[in-house]
Amino acid sequence: MADEANPVLEARGIVKIFGQHRALDGVDFAVRPGEVHALLGENGAGKSTLIKILTGAYQPDGGEIMLDGAPVRFTDPLNAQGAGIGTVYQEVNLLPNRSVAENLFLGRQPTRFGLVQRKAIVSQAAALMATYGLDIDVRAELGSYSVAVQQIVAIARAVELSGKVLVLDEPTASLDRNEVDKLFDVVAKLKARGLGIIFITHFLDQVFALADRVTILRNGQLIGTRDLSQLTATEVVRMMLGKDLAYGHSALPVAEAAKGPVKVTFSGLGHAGRMAPFTLSLHEGEVVGVAGLLGSGRTEMARLMFGVDTADEGEITVSGKPVKIRNPAQAVMAGFGFCPEDRKLDGIFGELSVRENIIIALQAKLGWFRALHRDEQDEIAGRYADDLDIRAANHDMPVKLLSGGNQQKVILARWLANDPTFLILDEPTRGIDVGAHAEIVRTINRLREDGLALLVISSELDEVVAYSNRVVVMRDRQMVAELHGADITPAVIVGAIADNSIPTEAQV
């Protein structure tokens, strides 16, 4: 790799502001020809915002973009593509209903007398696919091929049309191991051809296997750009999660002894291809923290527990009695509650009032014919709103007008009104301003003291440490470690997340 090579695409001091939120704050980024440059960061770190600016989907509020040393301004993705920057997304943005050949040539089909020359397209497409090591029938529908083949077709189209920089946005998220290898061969060939490749992924082992350099973002800030040959996986995870290990932590670990009898047991629960079977018991008055990088299977685990995805193996027992959970309604009947990660998408009903949002799950449990009386609704909503200190002008205002922290508490109140035995919180502090974090953590601790069993998924390791009796660590859709007592420190958790994620040691 030529260290001194001039970057083909460079971004300097990029700023992007959404409302009052600085999604990117003075970020520098450069990719050289013939290198694979990984871009890492947790959700909300600003990766996708940066990519959207580099590919013309967003306009930066500050900073400049240089292509081959000259400043450029992309009005839209097509414009960027024409200038030489092609993008391949995780969700293949091609046409599954058309043939491979047509997907490769759409918009630039050779024509004669206005008629498309199909034979020429088919032979050229077949030749093009052969250069990528694919011997496929290019006349077949794109949708009839596996995602991996579709990815390679998308890459081929992007390279044909642009040819300077290739952006791969989580291309491997839905591929199996062989397919990933195949894709990596293709990327290696393109790298040898001198393309600058930007690679975004959540899989650290793939970063080490493929990339030359890495740029890490956190909370819209540039943490650093490093040569991967000088980094260990632990250092990368530390940069991503931002834990200063030397500083340590002062919060007292939650005592492990103070918990009741086993409340819920998941034994051997799993879903082929999504989640390796895991076994976990939760006690009354216990918080189990779940740590792991994005895409490690944290959310998948919660979805299996709550019946959003149906487990294809394993058993669930509540208070010693086996229960069947095949959908969320059954989970609610079993006394489960689930506060999902994306509140706006999966949690709140923005147009409905605070009161309606709180009583909706309780009403669902009661059924259609036992409508809660308005006075009862007011009473229940009022009680939990006070308990959780939900700050709303009144309980009939739409939830969407509340702050993120208060919205989160409304969802919490909804499940508490249901008198649950087991509550799953997925990233309860995401998207909430920092001041409100401590309040959510206090609430979690209080619920624990009240005897609830809680499973809390979080990327904020300081917080996980502050409320967890136990911490389980996820990696590659498996539960890889369970930490107790003195082991519950950010340093140990980071080590467990990073462990073994250095290349080649196949774990699947």
């Binding site: 046409l95 759409l106 918009g107 529908e141």
Partner: protein, 325 residues
């Protein structure tokens, strides 16, 4: 074998079997006369259905087709009988007006981001209302061009007649097939129906294609109106009521996916012929109410929607693994 072909094959097989069954019962149905009448009687429907095929493949719907046909017949009749224009001049004006009408609807659909269902529903009321304002009564058209055209035909072996309007329909189908499968415009229409976001990212001119699709549909409805006026020698504001629904039925029976992205113009031809076959059978039978046509079409439509579900969703596309190279 492309799975999109399966509904088309099913339609063709059903048409052939139904025709054989009809011929076994009424042997006289096997004649070029009956076939010629099939084509003539359904010419306006077939022409409108070609436009509808493009609209549905692009992921939209056009409810204004029947009303535009009705409006066109009235406009032609008034231009010829009241304004004294030569029929060919009247035809040209009508086509320009209907094309413009479609372009405006397409532009509204694209730029205002209103569902095509609503825009073309508005278009339907506008065209039907406009036709009634021009003339609420039927206007007979008497002109030597009309007499000449309705007397011209090619005699088929066996005594059947291939009329001018049947030939117009066949030409429209051939042009439609070439347009759909052999031009960039055709591939853009399929692209829009497959995934509009992807299509836009791949450089498909979404605005132009959307406008052209509805322009095409309305222009073909205008041609269908011309054919309808030749067929009936009259212009009437309430003619071709509900033809848009017959056209949608023909398109879906012909194997085009109602959600867009898949379909064949040739399939629509079979869909139209299948409707013609059912009507002819009922005429031959003589005892059945003509409303039985609707019942049979309803049954067929339901069956084909079921079939498409089976082909397109229940059986997810086979995954092809990498071949060892």
């Amino acid at each position: 074998m492309n799975r999109a072909f399966r509904p088309l094959l099913a339609t063709t097989a059903i048409f052939v079997l139904a025709y054989i069954a009809a011929v076994l019962q009424y042997p006289s149905m096997l004649s070029t006369r009956v076939l010629g009448n099939f084509l003539t009687d359904n010419a306006f429907l077939g022409i409108a259905a070609v436009g509808m095929t493009f609209v549905i493949i692009s992921g939209g719907i056009d409810l204004s087709v029947g009303a535009v046909i009705g409006f066109s017949t009235v406009m032609i009749a008034t231009l010829i009988m009241w304004a004294g224009l030569h029929p060919f001049v009247a035809f040209a004006i009508t086509l320009v007006v209907s094309a413009g009408f479609g372009a405006v609807m397409g532009a509204a659909i694209h730029y205002l981001k209103v569902p095509s269902f609503i825009v073309t529903l508005a278009g339907m009321f506008l065209a039907r209302g406009g036709a009634s304002v021009l003339s609420p009564d039927s206007i007979g058209i008497k002109h030597e061009v009309y007499t000449t055209i309705s007397r011209s035909y090619i005699l088929l072996p066996g005594g059947g007649r291939l009329t001018v309007i049947a030939m117009i329909m066949l030409t429209v189908f051939v042009v439609g097939i070439v347009l759909a499968h052999r031009t960039r415009f055709g591939s853009y229409v399929y692209a829009l129906g497959g995934n509009e976001t992807s299509a836009a990212l791949m450089g498909v001119p979404v605005a132009r294609t959307t406008i052209l699709v509805y322009t095409l549909s309305s222009t073909l409805a205008g041609i269908a109106g011309i054919v309808f006026s030749l067929y009936t020698s009259a212009g009437y504001s309430l003619s071709a009521l509900g033809v848009e629904l017959d056209a949608i039925a023909a398109v879906v029976i012909g194997g085009t996916l109602l959600t867009g992205g898949y379909g064949f113009v040739a399939g629509t031809f079979i869909g139209v012929m299948l409707q013609g076959l059912v009507q002819t059978y009922i005429v031959f039978d003589g005892t059945l109410s003509s409303w039985w046509t609707k019942i049979v079409i309803g049954g067929l439509l339901f069956m084909f929607i079921l079939l498409q579900r089976l082909v397109f969703s229940a059986s997810t596309p086979r995954k092809k693994a990498f071949r060892k190279s």
